[in-house]
């Protein structure tokens, strides 16, 4: 596990591409965190065992911001678990999480999302969104959001959904002459793009690399 301690107003931003992450970050007042976990290209050897990503955030100072974006595109028998533990110990903080899985073949995905807002942590804005796309009947997704909200003056929202490619959108594209495979590719790419687009310009090289990979593989 890697521990990071952010002092007042410090920033931590990182894109983790295809590497398991175990990270604990303590945030003092006004500090900002932006993390991307992108799992789109596991090595054949790695994919036999389960990969676990764990991010733990402790907001201990006021006015902190945390953004966590995760995307896993899994095929074959790949397994990825992504855990996020976000604790708003004090008020005035913000957290936003967007977690997406695309699962094909016999892939297994799991999201554990732990969100806590302490009793005195007023005026917190917290969002946790988990969207998953199953491309195959044998793929499987487990979602375990856990929200513990003890303060009353907060804005907290969460949503989790797992679905398949939109058949009516596929047919619409086919009706315009776009082949079914290409149409699937466009829809999968669109689904993943929402996460990729949040990568900052300072990581544009890695962002373009991921975009290209997705366009060639999906």
């Amino acid at each position: 596990m890697t521990e990071v301690h952010l002092h007042n107003n410090e920033c931590f931003e990182k894109v983790f591409l295809n590497e398991p992450v175990d990270l604990q970050i303590t945030q003092e007042a006004g500090s900002r965190v932006k993390i991307h976990l992108i799992n789109v290209q596991w090595d054949i050897v790695q994919c036999t065992k389960e990969v676990v990503n764990r991010i733990t955030i402790e907001q201990v100072g006021e006015g902190c911001e945390t953004e966590i974006y995760a995307l896993a595109y899994l095929r074959g028998e790949e397994k990825v678990t992504t855990e996020t533990h976000v604790n708003h110990a004090v008020g005035g903080g913000k957290s936003n999480q967007l977690i997406k899985f695309v699962l094909d073949d016999d892939a297994r995905g799991r999201f554990i999302g732990d969100l806590k807002i302490a009793p005195d942590a007023q005026q917190v804005e917290a969002n946790q969104t988990n969207r998953n796309l199953l491309l195959n009947e044998t793929a499987e997704m487990r979602t375990q959001p856990q929200l513990e909200i003890y303060a009353d003056d907060v804005k907290a929202s969460h949503g989790a959904s797992t679905g398949q490619l939109d058949e009516s959108a596929l047919f619409y594209m086919q009706q315009r002459g776009i082949g079914k495979q290409k149409a699937r590719q466009l829809l999968i790419g669109a689904f993943m793009k929402e996460v990729i687009e949040t990568i900052s310009n300072q990581y544009s090289a890695i962002r373009d690399e991921i975009t290209q990979y997705i366009e060639s593989e999906s």
């Binding site: 619409y172 594209m173 086919q174 315009r176 002459g177 776009i178 669109a190």
Partner: protein, 255 residues
Amino acid sequence: MYKGESMKELLRIKDLHASIGGKEILKGVNLVVNEGEVHAIMGPNGAGKSTLSAVLTGNPAYEVTAGEVWLKGENLLAMEPETRARAGVFLSFQYPVEIPGVSMTNFMRTALNEKRAYEGKEPLSAKEFLLKVKEKRQLLELPDKLNNRSVNEGFSGGEKKKNEIFQMAMLEPCLAILDETDSGLDIDALRIVAEGVNRLKTPQNASIVITHYQRLLDYIVPDFVHVLADGQIVKTGDKSLALELEEKGYEGIEN
């Protein structure tokens, strides 16, 4: 089988039966559409009008249980939906689908180039594509901003229908099926859409206009009007049949 039977024949539907979820909707439709013709198909709700457009375009939700459909002598029912589209069958959807995350430009360019590949043509360059977009957009009085948006996402009802006809203008189909294109349109949008359709008419292409109301046919004047009731074409006439329907209602015609 019908190849060469008539130089002008575009579409032949022969005793077409189709069902959805085990329920038979089309119960023996027969129709021949020649090049240059406009056919209107009218009928009450539930008669099978939308089912006919779905079956002709290969919507997988419907099952063809009997009959044949030939497009320029080719077996249309044996083709994948995308092949039918590339061969020139276009459907203006009653409810155009929103596709978040796929830009209108990317979608249109992919569609056009797939059709061109099917015809053995080179893909359009970015410049040629944009020129074509500009030209066709003017036809429909479509605002520029729509091209940067996701397909149909956040479009108004009128914009969606105009966008359908814009796509038709881009793809230049030989057979356009307009499924309730008039529904949800105010009179100005209706006029623009209808003028767009009329300007796209050539001696080589044809359209099937599916509508519940006579109103659209004031603008797109049909050569033939067919009444579809309970899965069959029960009456065929010229444009005066549409007026008669308006007056007497469907029950008056059937009896």
